[in-house]
Every structure is written in C-alpha cells, then in structure tokens.
C-alpha cells in the first residue's frame, strides 16, 4: 500500500531523509531526474507513514497520504 507520494523532480539527493528515516525505508533510485540527481524511492513494505521524511525534507518532495493511502 502506498503511504507517501514523491515528487521526484524536486529531489536534490541531499540524503537528509535517508538518514532520518527510522525504518530505513528510503533509498536512491537508479533513474536520473531533470536536474541530474537520483531521486529517493520508498520501500512501501518497510514504510509506516510516520512523516519524518516530510518534516526533514528541505525541498518539499514528500506528501504523506495518511488515511487516503
């Protein structure tokens, strides 16, 4: 089940969410976005939708779906 939406074009691969994620559910994609960064991807099996990635992301990449997921 999808719990988090990612706007890949905004990601700058700073790694803050990867470090902050308590479930280690975030990793980098092998695709490259239009700015030349490898955007983050979320493993939906590990993710519990806590929203810490949303809290820490400086580039407004994440949207937590909550009950809509």
């Amino acid at each position: 089940m999808k719990k988090v939406l990612i706007r890949e074009e905004r990601c700058k691969q700073c790694g803050i969410c990867v470090d902050a994620c308590p479930k280690n559910a975030i990793s980098y994609s092998s695709e490259i976005n239009s700015n030349g960064y490898q955007p983050v991807v979320i493993d939906d099996d590990l993710c519990n939708g806590c929203g810490i990635c949303y809290t820490m992301c400086p580039d407004w990449v994440f949207e937590i779906l909550g009950d809509r997921g």
């Binding site: 719990k3 074009e9 905004r10 700058k12 691969q13 700073c14 790694g15 803050i16 470090d19 902050a20 960064y37 519990n48 939708g49 806590c50 929203g51 810490i52 949303y54 809290t55 820490m56 992301c57 400086p58 580039d59 407004w60 994440f62 949207e63 937590i64 779906l65 909550g66 009950d67 809509r68 997921g69």
Partner: protein, 247 residues
C-alpha cells in the same frame, strides 16, 4: 494511524536552494503556520537580501524584496499602514545582524508589532561564505582563512538574548533549529506562538533559526547537520527566552 501531511498550497513551485540547505524547511514551516491561521490572503513577507531571496519566486503570497538589511524597517511601515495584515520579516544573519543591526534593533526597541524570523548559518551564504557577525570563533571562511580571531573581530552576536534582556515589553523571543525532527517540530511551535502574538497585538516577536550551510562550510549535508547539533547548539542555546504573557 498515519496523519496526512501536505506542503501548503502557496508553495507549489520548486525551490532552488543548494541540496541540504535549511531555508526550505523554515519557509515550509512559516507557510504551514500561516495556512493554519487562515491568513494566506492577508499576509506579507518582507524578504531581505541573501540566499533566501531565491525563496520569493516559490512563495505564492504577497511578498516584498526590501533593501539589504532594512526588512524590519519596511515591515514597520507595512504594519503601521495595515494593522490587520500579518507582517513577517524574513532575514538572514548577515542581513539582520551585520548590515541591518540598526533597523533590527530599532524595531525591537520601538516594540513594533511585527514578527522577525532570522536564519543564522554563521556566514554570508549568497556572496560566497564571508565572515559574518555570527561566525563561530576559529571558523574558517573566505575572509577569515586562518579562522575567526575573536581578539580582533569580537565575539559572535547573540541577538535574541540581547532583545530578551534589554526590552522587557517584547512579546516573544525564541531560538530554534532545523537539524532534527524534534527541533523542527519545536520550531513550528515557536513560529506559531510568534504569529499568534502578532495577531493578538502583543508586540515585537523574534525567532532565530540555526540552519546548516553545506556549500560554504565545505561539508556534506549530513556533516553540516552534525556541526549544528554538536558545535552551534552549545554556543547558541535553543529555547524560548521570552514567553507570551497571554496564552
């Protein structure tokens, strides 16, 4: 139960800061607070000159790019003409404390009913990392290549402590950081308190935010967060220096 979180409507465009810069978090928190207070049609952002001037194209609300350092003075004018408008002065440490210390201090002295949010990254980020008034002792910058010598350049300025100690009628003074989830949530509470104090006509409110600057510190984003948590928080303690009298 997961709580839905969405970036506010007014921030629909991509922001163009360096990877790992803390400004994006601060802008988002301000926009969230403004949206929760339902003031998005009645707010004006006074933005000084610095990296954060890059944020103005991304904010879809009323905003005004002021002269360098004079954002507090311009905010005073806006607030006196439109007392019902939420006036936010968004500045950096070089803008508010070095070039605009006169305007920042005078606005606090007159107890203007505005909210000033300054982002402290211990250097002049936009022009290439020169030494500012908040540069830490021994920190290497492009204008202090051997490290800041405090015998000749003085000690780093602590503006929130100064305001809280000097002006007993200031409404709300606090310092936060954007480097851990706990600090970010605390900072949102501080910003909310400051904006509520302004809407309640309680007087001057000031928030300082410790923010990483990976590009000019020559660090990776995670190393820069670590530096804030280890080094800066010791010298610039976090917390509320002056709380609101009315809750």
């Amino acid at each position: 139960m997961a709580i839905a979180k969405k970036v506010p409507e007014m921030l629909s465009k991509q922001i163009s800061f360096c990877p790992g810069c803390g400004h994006g978090v601060v802008v988002r928190l301000i926009a969230e607070c403004v949206e929760e207070l339902k003031m998005e049609k009645n707010v004006i952002f006074n933005v000084g000159v610095g990296c954060y001037s890059l944020a103005t194209p991304s904010i879809e609300a009323d905003k005004f790019d002021t002269l360098h350092g004079r954002a507090s003075a311009v905010a005073t004018g806006f607030k006196r003409c439109n007392p019902d408008t939420l006036v936010i002065s968004y500045q950096g440490d070089g803008d508010a404390y070095s070039i605009g210390i006169g305007e920042s201090f005078s606005a606090a002295y007159r107890n203007e009913n505005i909210t000033v949010i300054t982002v402290n990254n211990t250097n002049y980020g936009m022009t290439g990392g020169q030494m500012s008034a908040t540069t830490m002792p021994g920190q290497k910058t492009t204008t202090s290549p051997l490290g800041r010598d405090c015998n000749t350049t003085g000690m780093p300025i602590k503006f929130p402590e100064m305001v809280a100690a000097t002006f007993p009628n200031a409404a709300y003074v606090a310092r936060g950081a954007v480097t851990t989830p706990k600090y970010v949530n605390q900072l949102k509470k501080y910003i909310m308190n400051a904006l509520k104090a302004q809407m309640n006509n309680e007087g001057y409110s000031l928030i300082e935010v410790l923010s990483p600057c990976p590009t000019n510190w020559g660090m990776t984003p995670l190393q820069a967060l670590g530096r804030v948590n280890k080094e800066l928080v010791d010298y610039y303690p976090l917390g509320e220096f002056k709380t609101r009298k009315v809750k």
